[in-house]
Every structure is written in C-alpha cells, then in structure tokens.
Symmetry: C2
Subunit: 315 residues, 2 copies
C-alpha cells in the first residue's frame, strides 16, 4: 500500500506492506488530518520512524469480530496493555507499555490502511460526515481539559493561541458558559472565532493576574509567559502544547501565588462524538485544504505555511 | 523597644519605637521562631527593610476590643484589605493590598511587641504551651496542602525534604493515613521521623513515576528534579518552598505525563490549633535551641548551621 514514511527527519511516499496485525482490526483510511505534532515529529521533536499520522476516519475491512466489518470508525491513538498499574487505575492513555498511532512504535494513518485493536475503535454516527469525524481525536484532546478539572460557568477563562488545537479548545470551552476570551495572533483566526460568537482579546488589553484559568495552546515560551502573567493567584494554567527544550521559569512566584499548572494531552472520544452528532461544535471551519494521499508531501508543505489550519488527506 | 532590624542584607539589634498601630492590637511577644524564610530574607531573597520575624505566640496588651486584653494569641501573618477581588472571593491570603508580618511592609515579631489587626488573632487554648503554639503558623502552612487538594488514604505520597517545614508536613500528612515516605538528607532528621513512626526512604530506593503525590520541601533544583522523576503520570507535585532564581524545566514531559504542579504557601490557623490541642502533632521535637531576644544575632547564626531545625527567641 502507499504510505507516508518518516525516517531521519525526512518524509517520503513509499510502498509498504499492508499492516494487518493479528488480533486487530484492519481499517481503510477515508480521511486523515495533519496535526502540529506531525510537523514537529518531522522536525525531530521525538525520535519516530514509520508511517506518520494519527487523526483519521476510516472503514473496518477486517476484524476479529465480524460485526465491525463495514463500520465507519475513528480510533483512540493509544494502544494499551490493560495490565499495568496505569491501565488498572483508569489511566489507560498513560499505559506504561503503550504504543501510539503514528507517534510511538505503531504505524500511523497517512496510508491506505491502518491497524488498531477493536477496543480503540468508536463507531461514527451516520449523521456525522467524514470532514467532521476526522476531527474527533483533536476534539477529544480539547475536551481533556474539562475531563481534568471543573470549569465554573462564572470563571474568567483566557485561551492563548487559536491554531489547529486552539480553535477546537475555544469551541468546547465556549459550551461551558464561562467568560471566555481568546488571544489569536492572526486576523483569519479571529474571524473564525468571531463567526461563532467567541470573543477575542488583544494582548495589550489582558488584565494581569485576573484570570481564573488560562489555557496555553501555542507551545511557545512567549505564550507560556503571557499565560503566567494573566492567571490570578490560586488560578490554573493548563498546558495543551509541548515545548521545544526546557523553559526557564520562576517557581518562587508560582509558590507565593499558589498557581496550579497542569499538563493536558489525549482526551475522551465518546463526548467528542456526541458533540459532533449534536452539532454543538463545527471543526469543519478549520479545513484549509484537502489533498490526495499520493500528494502527501505537498500537503505537508501546505500545512506548515502560516495562515493554514487543518489540511486533510483523502484516499 | 528592642528589635531585630533587617536592612541591606544586614541584621542588627536596635532600639525601635513601639509599633502600636491605630485600630490594631498591641501584642507582647512571648516566643518567636526563626524560619527558613527569615534566613532567606537576610540573604536578600526579597527586598524587605524592617523588623524580621513572623512566627510567634504572644499576649494582647491593648486592643480596640478590651475583651482581647490578656489573651494569649497567635496571628495570621497576612494583614488584608477585605475589599479587593481576592478578599471578596475567599482568598484573603492573596489580598492585592496585603502587608505581611516581618516579610512585606509590616514590622515583624523579633521584638518586644508587635501589632496586628484583631481579625488576624487566634486565642491559644490553655492546654497548648508556648513551645507548641509558636509553631501554629508553619503548621498552618503544612495544612495548606490538605486545604488545596484531596489526599486519598490509599495515596502513595513522597515528601522530599525533612527540614523545619518538612517535619511539620510529615506529621500532618501522616494523619491522613496515606502511604507516606520521606526523603531526609540528615540522620537526625530521619531519627525524629522514625520516633513518630513515619517511614523514610533512601533516594536510591525511590521508584520512578510511581508516586501519586510528591511534596517538594527542599527549595532546591535537586529536590524539584527528584520530585519530578518520582511522580506518576497524572500525579501531583506540591511545591512548598521558594527557589532562588529561575529553574529550567522540561514542560513537554509535564504535558505528555499530564502532571499537576501546585504552589502552596500560607494555610489555615484554626485546624493547626485543633491538632495541637488534641496532641495529634508535636512540633516541640523540632526545637534545637532557644535564645533571649537580645541574643538574636547568635540565634540567627545557630539557625543557619547544618543539623539545626527550629531556633526560638524568647522575651
């Protein structure tokens, strides 16, 4: 099958043997999305060799349980052991023996087919089109914030960053009724938010130490520092992006102000599907472009350009 | 009155006008404790000029409400406005206009007398002697951990550091029934803990990524890094000490592991007094030495020596 292969910071289209793992479902990819993590992996953020990609919607073509065959599905990216301490204590996304689709020791979805355990799959309701379903994984990551902590409807919440993930976080946070403002660098990002009635705020208008919760979704030290200045004493900083290398942070002020900093990664798929089915969110507004799988290299170039949100690949 | 004055990183005994602020209680100091923060202030951790000291037990000698006169009291160190957003939302220790006893814009307790608003004072039960009551402030700071988060009795909790504050944290954490282990650098620290049935653990025996909660009470980058290695994915790191300058931290791993980092400072006085009254804790085991107020300079030298826990000053 055709696949986008990453090796030594180089991506290339290759012909690869179809990855039909024993005991797992084989899934024909319908659409896949390019995520910032994919771009970072190409830059060498984490040493990974194999087929890239982890956001997808596909169709089961073979499975240990025949009732799955023909189903349209999305898939949780962490394939877990079910036996380690993390798995047995309700934290499977932190499984000590996990492989991660297109990220760690498991071939990904920028290919004609992929393979996942049945327990990772979720059926997509007929009313949710492929262009929406392909966003379930990042939408679940956005919802991880609400899974980790209580957001009061009266909270003043600042979101720093309105890129691929930031836009989805904005849409889901807005559903809580909280007093949400978003710092968006680019005019086109602000326009997408405004069209949904989500308020943006210019950096110079952000009151320091006044925000109950600040979500950092830029992955840059500047974004982190802005978030730190904005959060109130005893407030919470949610970190949704990874950062290159270390960051120098004044922890004394974090102790004195009793700030809570929490890292946030993969989230729950079922609520993401429920919100799509009820049309409470619309990730489709993020689609900048679509390419055929064989044009993946062009798609990656496009995804890396400024002003581009989501680029999809289709089979 | 005699007082220990800090100015330009120098402490000296001085004769100072008695600080009888209008509308506040005047308190004759009975005993006061030297805290690591005092030693740091002398080193210039934070620019403060005035009478040092914030841990005390004393006797009210005059007050706007005469019923307080003659009462033995301890005092909350944050004097607050009651009107700012922090005060009106139940976070008075983060008052935007606060002064802090012996730390920020308010003369402290290493003196014959000090002054505090009545609302800051708590009566000490007769059954609690001065040598215990003088520990209410740091004991309250230890209890701030339980005030900020739920500690499950089944939690595996690691405490890094068994100095002045660490010992009090160990005693209060042990009351939760959690599976507590303490990393104590010095043999005498381990002996104090063992005598109370609190388990210690050698650094080389700490399983990485296995602890539900890790409390960092050393204030050193080494302590922070040890705590980071020990905490499990989705676990909590509690920072109880301030750190000199910035620290370089890998926040990507904090995001991937979804670690929760929380700063923790001043705590509630009433539960500290209740635990002392019920003799559930015994801070008296921390007393290394006592000096007369006029010998404060010698007391500071002693407090800065290795192997010394609490040094008290008495009038």
């Amino acid at each position: 099958m055709k696949a986008l292969w990453l090796e030594n910071n180089q991506i290339s289209m290759r012909e690869i043997a179809q990855s039909n793992k024993p005991g797992e479902a084989l899934i024909k990819i319908r659409k896949a999305g390019i995520c910032s993590t994919d771009l970072e992996l190409v830059k060498g953020y984490y040493p990974y060799k194999g087929i890239l990609g982890h956001e997808f919607v596909g169709e089961v073509v073979s499975a240990p349980d025949a009732s799955w065959v023909g189903q349209r599905v999305v898939g949780e990216i962490n394939a877990v052991c079910g036996k380690c301490e993390a798995c047995l204590n309700g934290r499977p996304t932190h499984c000590e023996n996990r492989t991660v689709l297109g990220i760690s020791n498991r071939d990904g979805v920028f290919a004609e087919f992929t393979s996942l355990p049945l327990e990772n799959l979720y059926r997509v309701p007929d009313s949710v089109p492929d262009e929406q379903a392909v966003f379930v994984e990042p939408l679940a990551a956005a919802l991880e914030i609400q899974q980790q902590m209580q957001i009061h409807p009266t909270d003043r919440v600042l979101l720093v960053g309105a890129g691929r993930l930031g836009q989805l976080i904005a849409q889901t946070l807005a559903l809580t009724g909280c007093d949400l403002h978003v710092v968006a660098r680019h005019a086109f990002q602000r326009e997408i938010l405004s069209a949904r009635g989500i308020r943006t705020i210019a950096e110079e208008n952000i009151q320091p130490q006044k925000w109950d919760m600040v979500v950092e979704a830029t992955g840059s030290p500047d974004g982190f520092n802005l978030a730190r200045r904005a959060v109130r004493p005893r407030g919470t900083m949610v970190l949704k992006s990874t950062y290159k290398g270390g960051m120098n942070v004044n922890f004394s002020s974090i102790v004195v102000d009793e700030i809570n900093i929490i890292g946030s990664r993969c989230g729950p798929f079922e609520p993401a599907l429920r919100l799509l089915e009820k049309r409470e969110v619309d990730p489709g507004v993020l689609i900048s472009d679509q390419y055929k799988l064989q044009d993946s290299l062009k798609a990656f170039e496009r995804a890396a350009q400024a002003g581009v949100l989501k680029v999809l690949l289709e089979n």
